[in-house]
């Protein structure tokens, strides 16, 4: 068990893997997520759905030089496993050492301690500003869910980025068509349309704000995600990478009932209750 994951001590180790090994790594990560979340509790669906994206992020970008900002950061667990913290997922006695959110006290790969939504784009634009003032070169990547896009601060951040940022900024919009509950807001009609047309519909919310835009329909395919990230790496302006993913991917109950499996209480007891309440 965890054959590949056990060999990963930092993102450099991810870059050495071939396609098949990367796919096994994704399986290992899901196994490890299941191990921690059913016993210790935490965010289930958000992490199961983002495994391939975060593997590809570490495969293509160079964290900690490149900066990742996670919105809410409840979906950062695969990233944590790839940045030296796998023990917190595969060894029960180490669960306690890792928080359920990004945490700069744990790793140089985590920039902010956050747990409230819709802040990642604003935080990332600040990093961009300082990077440019100092004349430094690196990628700034924000990862935000479709649900969190409805928050005012996210809209303010996107609006600002669309006109005031003129250098590298990559905003990954993880569209799994779900908040905790179902999504609400006019923006989702546009996301639906963009997904339906593989990103080609001329009515495009992000472009309206002045942002470049790329669509990737296979957000749960590591090779597709590597390709799209290689395309935007070192880009010289803000770009939205809109990806389509499956919340809860790889665990049938979580795929089918995305609301109930957003979060999961630890302990077999509670776990069983969740199963009967479904």
């Amino acid at each position: 068990m965890y054959d590949i994951l056990k060999t990963i001590n930092n993102p450099q180790d991810v870059k050495k893997l071939n396609t098949e090994q990367l796919n096994i790594l994704a399986e290992d990560i899901r196994e490890a997520l299941f191990n921690r979340l059913t016993k210790f509790g935490g965010h289930f669906g958000p992490n199961f759905g983002i495994v391939e994206t975060e593997i590809a992020m570490h495969y293509v970008f160079d964290s900690p030089k490149d900066k990742f900002v996670f919105d809410v950061s409840h979906q950062s667990y695969p990233h944590k496993m790839l940045t030296g913290r796998k023990a917190g997922y595969i060894e029960d006695e180490h669960f306690i050492e890792d928080s359920g959110y990004t945490n700069p006290d744990e790793s140089e790969h985590d920039l902010f301690n956050v747990g409230h939504t819709s802040t990642s784009v604003s935080l990332a634009t600040g990093l961009v500003k300082a990077r440019d003032l100092k004349g430094e070169k690196y990628n700034v990547v924000a990862l935000i869910g479709d649900g969190s896009l409805s928050g005012g601060e996210a809209l303010e951040g996107l609006d600002f980025a669309g006109s005031e940022i003129h250098s590298n900024l990559i905003i990954i919009v993880n569209d799994n068509q779900q908040s905790i509950a179902e999504v609400h807001g006019g923006i989702y009609k546009n996301l639906d349309k963009l997904r339906a047309t593989k990103g080609t519909d001329p009515c495009n919310f992000f472009k309206t704000l002045g942002l470049d835009y790329i669509y990737e329909e296979n957000g749960n395919d590591i090779q597709a995600m590597i390709k799209v990230f290689e395309r935007v790496k070192n880009i010289d302006h803000p770009v939205v990478v809109h990806i389509n993913t499956q919340k809860g991917k790889g665990y049938k109950l979580a795929e089918e009932n995305r609301e109930a499996w957003h979060w999961c209480m630890g302990g077999m007891w509670n776990f069983l209750q969740k199963l009967i309440l479904l």
Partner: protein
């Protein structure tokens, strides 16, 4: 009891969350002006997808938009609706100015209902519920209510949602449900409830710390040999000056207990009231600190807030 895979699983007993779900569902059936608004957090108030659907237009999920939800509710109230906004205490923090300007300056009668407003709920540093009480307490016109049991909680909800004079924030207790007969009307603002009359020491135990106050009062009687006064303040951000003045006749020590940070909170207001008198005031609550992933029981001990520790303090102070 249900039998699952050969194991007995206790079905959850009545909780403040289940009481809230029931209230919302009943109220929306009985009152077409009532609307429940949530910035994307129906689950923490127990509203399942089916129940939400059943409420039709009386259920509004605004998206993850706390600021908008509060201002939207103000509009609803202005036009004669009865809005109840529900979410977690930690997420309401970003709405300080909507509560201040869009609601309180305009005195629109909305009710803000906060779950997980206790030190004993969410313990991640990003999700603490211990700041809302002091942060929002100091906005003029806002009535912050801290219920102490099932009946008082439901009576406060009933009163608040139906009244048209004030914006109200209700802190859902973070402890187990208890039961006691309480008042139904809260229109006499900032009036405390003297639950037990005694002497020497007066305990002002706010909200879900009321049960700790009860326990303390009992132990004072058993161990120190006199009957203290026990008060349920109910109004977390108002001073009942008559009651406080009255206490000066037979008491020389006031104990305040609150489930939130002390700075800018309830106890400090009481202490300031007595500042130029002979009354001693000892405040118990949390520090202005970003606690992270703590054990709630251990934290109370660290803060010197167990009944035993407070009894020790009292012995030294009287």
């Amino acid at each position: 009891m249900a039998l699952v895979y050969g194991w007995h699983v206790e079905l959850p007993a009545e909780t403040y969350t289940s009481l809230t779900t029931e209230y919302i569902l009943n109220k929306s059936k009985q009152d077409k002006d009532f609307v429940f608004i949530t910035p994307a957090m129906p689950n923490i108030l127990g509203l399942s997808p089916d129940w939400r659907k059943g409420m039709g237009p009386q259920y509004v999920d605004t998206g993850i938009t706390e600021e908008h939800a509060i201002a939207f509710a103000s509009g609803v109230a202005k036009a004669g609706g009865k809005p109840l906004v529900g979410t977690a205490a930690t997420f309401i923090q970003r709405t300080y100015d909507q509560v201040s300007q869009d609601v309180c300056i305009n005195n629109t009668p909305i009710t803000i209902l906060l779950n997980y407003a206790s030190f004993d709920s969410l313990t991640d540093v990003t999700h603490l519920g211990i700041f809302a009480l002091s942060a929002f307490s100091n906005i003029p016109n806002l009535i912050v209510l801290a219920p102490t049991c099932k009946q008082e909680y439901l009576n406060m909800l009933d009163w608040s949602v139906d009244q048209t004079d004030h914006p109200v924030m209700i802190l859902i207790p973070g402890n187990a449900v208890t039961s006691r007969e309480t008042d139904k009307d809260f229109s006499k603002l900032n009036t405390y409830k003297v639950e037990q009359s005694g002497e020497k020491v007066a305990i002002l135990a706010l909200g879900d710390f009321y049960q700790k106050g009860e326990e303390l009062a009992k132990q004072i009687e058993v161990q120190l040999g006199f009957k203290p006064t026990l008060i349920n303040p109910r109004f977390a951000n108002g001073l009942d000056k008559n009651t406080l003045k009255d206490l000066q006749k037979k008491h020389n020590l006031v104990i305040t207990m609150e489930d939130g940070i002390l700075d800018g909170g309830f106890g400090q207001k009481v202490a300031t009231f007595y500042a130029l008198t002979d009354m001693k005031v000892k405040t118990y609550g949390l520090k202005r600190e970003f606690y992270d992933r703590y054990n709630p029981g251990e934290l109370l001990k660290e803060l010197g807030m167990t009944t035993k520790q407070i009894l020790n303090d009292i012995q030294k102070l009287i």
